[in-house]
């Protein structure tokens, strides 16, 4: 295999696909398959045969098309006609109307408003368009060209330079410049070197990485091989949680295919570069997404973070230099190599380039998986892409960055999506979760809920996170059962400050964010709970909330 072979495969595949006038993409990601997408897929295949249009219409299993709340969703090309909530009953009608008669069946079409208008799908470029279980689909969409380009025309340092030029920052949440990280590992003296791709999203309501893996596994693999070439690593691991069975299945298939086509393994594309890839399964702990805990878990040990320094770039997996990168960052790499860092910079902000995937959930009209350029405002995400709040309710807050993100009120909605602006208003980029809350939500209860989550997920290693969060929860229990005192607010603030500054890893260092932001923006609700013993939302002061020990 070499570049010309890849080009040949791409041409053949394109030829093959051009033979079809229509292409029905049935989203079979976790979301839609829970609505029965695989049965719908089968029904489409049957219906196409039944109507005798299998020669002009290709039915394909694809990854997420974005609109997760109206699954199973089906996308019919050409024209990107999106059908929502497709059931087994209306499959025949759609095939008959759209494919046989050539007229889209309007009553089943999804009116998604501006959901897609402000999005830029770079990482999710192939999501919902290619069959993730066929490597030919990926190659025909330009896949593995970047890898071939690297191996044929670029030096490892050149690859790193291109990534540096792009300004890409780590998508796992902290936003460390990716090129700089690659450089650090490349310069580390010890060998062998490893790459660990982080696919352990533990946040409630976040599914961006899972969806990416389900929709476009080869983008992750290609990114890893490119990174391997750049930093001279020959072994990579994708750390994925066992709760993602579909993603595991898709990735495993993709790895096997890539190996069979010599895109993984020894002498990749006939060059000297070797790179092997393996999946590592996590038992599903939130903390295992932390970069040192992931190493412990990948080594087969208890997922407990270890102090830095030493940094994983020098002493990571089995104390060898290790590049730990979120899968979204890795999936960006092929694009940057192919189109150049300057092209990548045209998206987003000067100091925060590119796009970011978010899982948009909560009380919102268009929940789903979105990819937006950096610098877009929260307002645009909530109202333009998300379509506002359903049932005429009022917006109350948006939680950005998962359970350790910040609860932001209306007044901060003009804030831009980038690492620094979010930090200024008290939130974090985190793993890319956006949860919208409407006026029915009690902010004290929301903060309590997320504190609870972090308590459960704390690994128990360091005192501030383990004991501190538990003490904070007691204060919440007091406040939400009518035993709160004014001094409790002070205690919340002081303990939160301690937990943030003294904790070992990112979990503890960010866990008090919901507390601090709700105290900052919704203090009146705390006061109402404490002084008037009232909860406007009606969630607190119920008997079942009272925790008797």
């Amino acid at each position: 295999m070499n570049l010309s072979d890849i080009q040949k495969i791409a041409e053949e595949e394109n030829e093959f696909q051009r033979a079809y006038k229509y292409r029905i993409n049935v989203c079979c990601s976790s979301g839609c398959s829970s609505f029965g997408a695989f049965k719908v897929l089968k029904a489409f295949e049957d219906a196409v045969k039944e109507f005798g249009v299998e020669n002009i219409c290709k039915v394909a299993r694809t990854g997420c098309v974005g609109t997760c709340s109206v699954g199973p969703t089906v996308l019919v090309d050409p024209g990107e006609h999106r059908y929502k909530c497709v059931t087994l009953e209306n499959v025949r009608e759609i095939v008959q109307g759209h494919i046989v008669s050539g007229i889209p069946v309007k009553k089943y079409l999804h009116n998604h408003g501006d959901f897609f208008r402000k999005q830029h799908r770079l990482v999710l470029r192939n999501a919902g368009k290619i069959d993730p279980t066929r490597i030919q689909d990926y190659i025909s969409a330009g896949g593995y060209f970047a890898l071939a380009k690297c191996l044929a025309n670029m030096t490892p340092q050149g690859v790193i330079q291109e990534i540096l030029n792009s300004g890409l920052r780590g998508r796992g949440g902290a936003g460390f410049p990716v090129g700089q990280k690659w450089n650090l590992v490349a310069r580390a003296h010890n060998t062998p070197k490893y790459i660990v791709a982080n696919l352990d999203e533990g946040d409630p309501g976040v599914f961006a990485n899972r969806t990416l893996a389900e929709a476009d596994p080869h983008a992750i693999i290609e990114g890893m091989v490119i990174a391997g070439y750049a930093i001279d690593a020959q072994k990579g691991y994708i750390y994925i949680r066992s709760e993602y069975p579909l993603a595991i299945e898709v990735l495993q298939k993709a790895i096997t295919q890539a190996k069979s086509m010599n895109l993984l393994g020894d002498n990749i594309l006939g060059t000297q570069h070797n790179f092997d890839l393996e999946l590592r399964f996590g038992a599903g702990a939130f903390v295992a997404g932390e970069e040192t805990a992931i190493l412990m878990s990948a080594e087969g040990r208890r997922a407990q973070p270890r102090p830095r320094p030493p940094y994983p770039a020098n002493q990571g997996l089995w104390n060898k230099p290790t590049l730990i990168q979120n899968v979204e960052s890795l999936a960006n790499a092929p694009l940057i190599i192919l189109n150049g860092g300057t092209w990548f910079k045209s998206y987003g902000l000067p100091n925060c380039t590119g796009t970011k995937c978010f899982s948009l959930t909560g009380e919102i009209n268009n929940p789903g998986l979105i990819e937006v350029p950096m610098g877009i405002s929260l307002h645009e995400i909530v109202y333009d892409i998300g379509g506002g709040i359903p049932n005429g309710k009022k917006f109350k807050a948006v939680l950005v960055g998962g359970p350790s993100g910040g609860c932001l009120p209306e007044s901060t909605l003009e804030a831009q999506i980038d690492y620094d602006s979010l930090k200024n208003v008290g939130a974090i980029m985190g793993s890319g979760g956006i949860v919208v809350l409407n006026e029915d939500a009690c902010m004290v209860d929301t903060a309590r809920y997320f504190t609870d989550f972090c308590i459960d997920e704390s690994c128990g290693k360091c005192t501030p996170c383990r004991a501190g969060l538990a003490r904070v929860k007691e204060v919440f229990d007091k406040i939400t059962t009518g035993k709160g005192e004014l001094k409790d607010i002070d205690m919340l603030e002081k303990t939160s400050e301690y937990i943030i500054n003294a904790s070992l890893c990112g979990l503890g260092q960010t866990a008090p964010n919901p507390i601090l932001t709700t105290l900052r923006y919704f203090k009146e609700e705390y006061l109402e709970h404490i002084i008037n013993k009232k909860c406007k939302a009606g969630t607190c002061f119920k008997n079942e909330n009272i925790v008797e020990e």
Binding site: P309, C459, G460, C462, T463, A470, R471, M491
Partner: protein, 236 residues
Amino acid sequence: MAENFMITLKIDGVQISVPEGTTILKAAKDNGILIPTLCDLEGLTPYGGCRLCLVEVTGSPKLFTACTTPANPGMDVTTNSERLKNYRKIAVQMLMSERVHMCAVCVANDHCELQALANQLGVNHVAFERHFTREPIDSSHDFLVIDRNRCILCTRCVRVCDKIEGVHTLDLKKRSKNTEVIMDLDEAWGDSCSCTGCRKCAKVCPVGAIYIEGEAMSQTKNPDVAEFITARRNRK
């Protein structure tokens, strides 16, 4: 040899020289500056869990655990600012409130590092509500006893069992505040087939969680235990 390469740094305003690779904790200790610790014990793998040895390094907004951070040339370390003192007091209070720490009825009374630290730091009361756990005491072993209600999860016992005795009978189970030290696959200590009965776990326990039945604490908590462990560790 790298070990002979000396570096110079400042700790609490004092200029000191230590061999490269020395932790801040050791560098400070060798120069008469004592930083409080609980989970750290010389000779054991640094852990960085108790967060008592946090220090400030000029130029970094973050705090560093002295037990795990190697001293770097030119570092300017503060070990005893008001903020750090306050954080240490909070840490001790959190540890004391987490489980049942009633010194008067503890086997380790007067031989307990947590008690001594509370005393030293002037933690004369615990501002947080105390928790009263009720873990059964495992005294099934011939002479070793574990009372998990007194455990502060420093994992000294786990590390000494793994790295020094080389057995790894002890480890942790569960997460967060429910974390517990267990024997083998969570069996009664008396049923553990890997435990050699070496007593090192009891010797390194900073509190009264693991103790030896019928042996005076003054004998168990021999102050030379760190030296002993370091010697064992260096013996190849």
